[in-house]
Amino acid sequence: MTWFIRMWKRVTLAHGAGGRETKEVIERIIRALVPREYWTVKGGTGLDILDDSALIPIDNGYLAVTIDSYTVKPLFFPGGDLGVLAASGTINDLLMAGARPLAALDAVIVEEGFEFEKLLTITRSYTETLYKHGVSLIGGDFKVMPRGEIDGVVISSTGLGVVEGEPIRDDKIRPGDKIIVSGYLGDHGAAILASQQEIGVKFNVKSDVKPLTDLMLPLLKEYRGRIHGAGDPTRGGLSMLLNDWAQLTGTVIVVDESSIPVREQVREYAEMLGVDPLSLASEGVAVLAVDPSVADEILDYMHRLGYREASMVGEVYKPSNPSHAGRVLLRSITGGVRILEPPSGEIVPRIC
C-alpha cells in the first residue's frame, strides 16, 4: 500500500458495531495472533468458521460453547432489558449450532453508584430467562468499576450446550439450499434506535428479544441433518448473516425483498433514519439454510409451531465466476437487482 494511505489509528465505535469493521478486528488482530492449529480443539470448530458456538468433540456428539458481552443503551428498553437480552443471546447462540442449551456462567461489571433495585431487576430477568428454558446458572463473577469508567452494567455471558447428533455448522451450507427466516426482522434494532433517538415520532414496536427454544428444539428433533445452517441475525442483521454465510461457503445467496418479513412501521422508521432495515438487529429470529427437498415442509412446521410470519426468502447458488463467490444479491420489490452489502460503520443519520 502506498505510504500516504493510513489506516485509522484508534478504535472507533464502528469497530464494535458488528459489521465489516468488527470482522476486520477479528481477522487482523485476533486470528493474526493465534497460530492456526490453536483456532479449534482437534475435531471441533472455532475461530476457523466463527459460528454462533464453538464445538468440542465429546462421546456421541459435541460440547457447544459460546460467549458474548452484552451492553445496551438504554438498559431497559421496550420489550426487555439487558438481562433478558444476555440470557436469550446465550441460549440462541447454542441453539443455532444445533445444541441443547444446558448451562451458563455470567461475568457482571457494574458502575459504582448503580442502583441495587435496577441490578436486581436485570439479574432476575437474566436468571429467570435461563431457568425457564432449562438452563442452569453454574457460576460467574461480579465486579464494580469506579463511577464514570463504565456505563451502568455490562454482562458477559457464557453458554454451554450439548449436540446430540449432527451439529449445525454454517460451513455446510451448499448451493440449492433454501433460506428461511422465522419472523419479522429488525424489531430489536428499531426499538433500541427509537429509544436512543428522540426524533419526535411515535414508535411502538417492541424488541423481539427471546430464546428460540420453542422453535429450534422441535425443529432439531424432526429435521436434524436437513438444516445445513442456522444463525440469529443480531448485530448487522440479515445482511451481515447472509454475507458471512456466502463468504464462508464461497456461494452466492439471492434473496427476494418482497418475501422478507419486515413490519411496516420498522421499515418506515428505518427509512426515516436512513438505515437499511435488513441491517437492523433481531434478538428473537432464526435464519435457516435448509435442504430444498424439505424446505416447504420445514416452513409449514414452523408456521404450526406458532411462527406465523416465517417465510422462505431466498436460495443459495453456485457462482458462475469465482470472483462472485461470497456475494449476496437482493431482488428489489421494483424488480431490479442490487448487492446486499454487509453493514459497515456506525449507524448515523443523514442530513438532507
Binding site: M1, T2, F4, I5, R6, M7, W8, K9, R10, V11, T12, A14, G19, R20, E21, E24, Q197, I199, V252, V254, S258, E264, R267, E268, G274, D276, Y317, K318, P319, S320, N321, H324, R327, L329, L330, R331, S332, I333, T334, G335, G336, V337, R338, I339, L340, E341, S344, G345, V348, P349, R350, I351, C352
Partner: protein
C-alpha cells in the same frame, strides 16, 4: 402515505407499465438526439440512492445511462472547514454537527494526523452529533460551553441554520461555521464540464426544490435546452422522470415538468427563501476538489456576522487565490461528484476506501455516490452475478 400506497410506488403493474414505455421511447430518443447512450443526470443523493437501492439501472434499456451528479452536500464541503472544526474540538471548543459530517475526512493535518471529527472525539476532542441545530442551541444554552455548529448542506438545510440566526435564538456561546452551498450554480458548472458528451436530461432534486421551487430549474431548459423533471424519491417517481425526459427528447421539445407536485410547488417555500436571503449573502464559494464556483455559497450578512465562528475565533478563510486542491491523493471524488467518473473507476473504491473507513468524502455521507454504490453494489456487478447464476 400508507404502506399499501407506498408499495404501489415501488413495484407491480404501474412500474412495469412505465418500464415498457421507457423501452419503447429509448430508441426514438436516440434517433432524435443522434447520440447514444442518452445521458440522464440525477442531482440528488437520494435519487442516486433510489436508483441503486432498487436496482433501477439494471432495468434500463441499453440506450439509457443514468449518471449521478453533485447531490451530496457533505461530499463538497472543503477540507479547510473540517480541519477548522477538528482543531477547535481539540482546543476545548465543543463542536456540534450532523452525523454525516462527523465522519467526513479533512486534510489529515490537524492534531498530528486526525482526519475526522469522529477521530477527534476518539482522541479526546469535544464533538457531539445532533439531528438539528435546535439540539445544539438547547444544549449550548443549558451547558454554557463555548461551542460551534458545523453547518453543511444545500438549500434544504440552510433555512434551518438561517431561522434561529434571524430570530435571535442563538446563545452567545454558540457560533456557526457556515458552509452552506447552493445547487443551481453547481448544476451550471456541471453542464459546462460535460460539454463534450452532453447531459441530455436532468432529474432535478426533489428535496431542494421544496425550498427553491420548481422555478429554480427554468434556466436548464431556457439556457441549455435540456429536458428537466423535478422528481420524488420512490422508484415510480424516478422512472416517470426518465420516461418524461425520453418523451421530450423524442419530440425535440425540452420542458420543465414537476413530477413531484405532491410536495414541490412552482414557487417553493417563500418563508424559507426569505429566511435565507435575510440571513446570508450569496458569495463565490469553494467546493471540495473542484475549487471556487461563482455565487454558489452563503455567507452571513454583516448584521449577523457576530454568529460567524470563523470571525469569532479569528480564523481567516482562504480566498480564490489561495485555494488549493483539497482531496486526498488518488481520490477521484470531485470527478465522481460531477458525474465525470463512476465510483468503480476510482482505484481506491472498496479497496482502501470503504464506508467504515472512508478515505474520500464521497464515501462518507449516506448521500455520497461512492457510499451508495458501496452499500448497494452499484456499477453493474449485481447484474453480472445475476446473469452468471441464470437469474432472469
Amino acid at each position: 402515505m400508507s404502506g399499501k400506497a407506498l408499495a404501489l410506488l415501488r413495484g407491480g403493474p404501474l412500474v412495469n407499465a412505465i418500464l415498457a414505455k421507457i423501452r419503447e421511447l429509448a430508441p426514438k430518443a436516440v434517433e432524435a438526439v443522434g447520440q447514444a447512450p442518452i445521458k440522464i443526470m440525477d442531482f440528488c443523493g437520494t435519487h442516486e440512492y433510489t436508483i441503486t437501492h432498487y436496482g433501477l439501472r439494471s432495468l434500463m434499456p441499453p440506450e439509457v445511462e443514468l449518471v449521478a451528479g453533485p447531490g451530496c452536500p457533505v461530499c463538497v464541503t472543503p477540507a479547510f472547514y473540517v480541519d477548522t472544526a477538528i482543531k477547535l474540538s481539540l482546543e476545548g471548543v465543543r463542536v456540534y454537527t450532523y452525523g454525516d459530517a462527523y465522519k467526513l475526512p479533512g486534510s489529515g493535518r490537524p492534531g498530528g494526523g486526525i482526519r475526522s471529527l469522529e477521530e477527534a472525539r476518539a482522541a479526546g476532542g469535544d464533538v457531539v452529533v445532533v439531528y438539528s441545530i435546535l439540539d445544539a442551541i438547547r444544549r449550548a444554552s443549558r451547558e454554557g460551553k463555548d461551542s460551534v455548529f458545523l453547518a453543511v448542506g444545500f438549500e434544504t438545510t440552510a433555512p434551518a441554520t438561517a431561522a434561529p440566526v434571524v430570530r435571535g435564538m442563538l446563545p452567545s456561546n454558540l457560533t456557526i461555521i457556515n458552509v452552506h452551498r447552493l445547487t443551481p450554480p453547481i448544476m451550471r458548472y456541471t453542464f459546462e464540464r460535460h460539454r463534450e458528451n452532453p447531459i441530455r436530461g436532468v432529474i432535478a432534486p426533489g428535496h431542494v426544490s421544496t425550498i427553491v421551487g420548481a422555478k429554480a430549474w427554468r434556466f436548464v431548459v431556457e439556457d441549455y435546452g435540456i429536458p428537466t423533471v423535478v422528481a420524488g424519491f420512490e422508484p415510480v417517481d424516478v422512472l416517470l422522470a426518465v420516461m418524461e425526459i425520453l418523451r421530450q427528447l423524442s419530440r425535440g421539445e425540452p420542458m420543465l415538468v414537476n413530477e413531484y407536485s405532491r410536495v414541490v410547488t412552482w414557487e417553493g417555500n417563500r418563508t424559507a427563501q426569505k429566511m435565507i436571503a435575510e440571513c446570508c449573502d450569496v458569495v463565490d464559494a469553494a467546493w471540495r476538489g473542484i475549487g471556487f464556483v461563482p455565487e454558489s455559497g452563503l455567507a452571513f450578512r454583516d448584521k449577523y456576522r457576530i454568529h460567524d465562528a470563523l470571525l469569532q475565533y479569528g480564523i481567516r478563510e482562504p480566498g480564490p487565490d489561495e485555494w488549493s486542491y483539497d482531496l486526498p491523493p488518488g481520490c477521484r471524488c470531485a470527478e465522481v461528484t460531477l458525474g465525470m467518473a463512476r465510483p468503480t473507476d476510482c482505484p481506491l473504491f472498496m479497496k482502501v476506501c470503504t464506508p467504515g473507513t472512508p478515505y474520500g468524502p464521497c464515501m462518507v455521507s449516506s448521500e455520497g455516490t461512492c457510499a451508495v454504490w458501496a452499500r448497494f453494489g452499484g456499477g453493474g456487478l449485481a447484474e453480472e452475478i445475476a446473469r452468471g447464476i441464470g437469474l432472469k
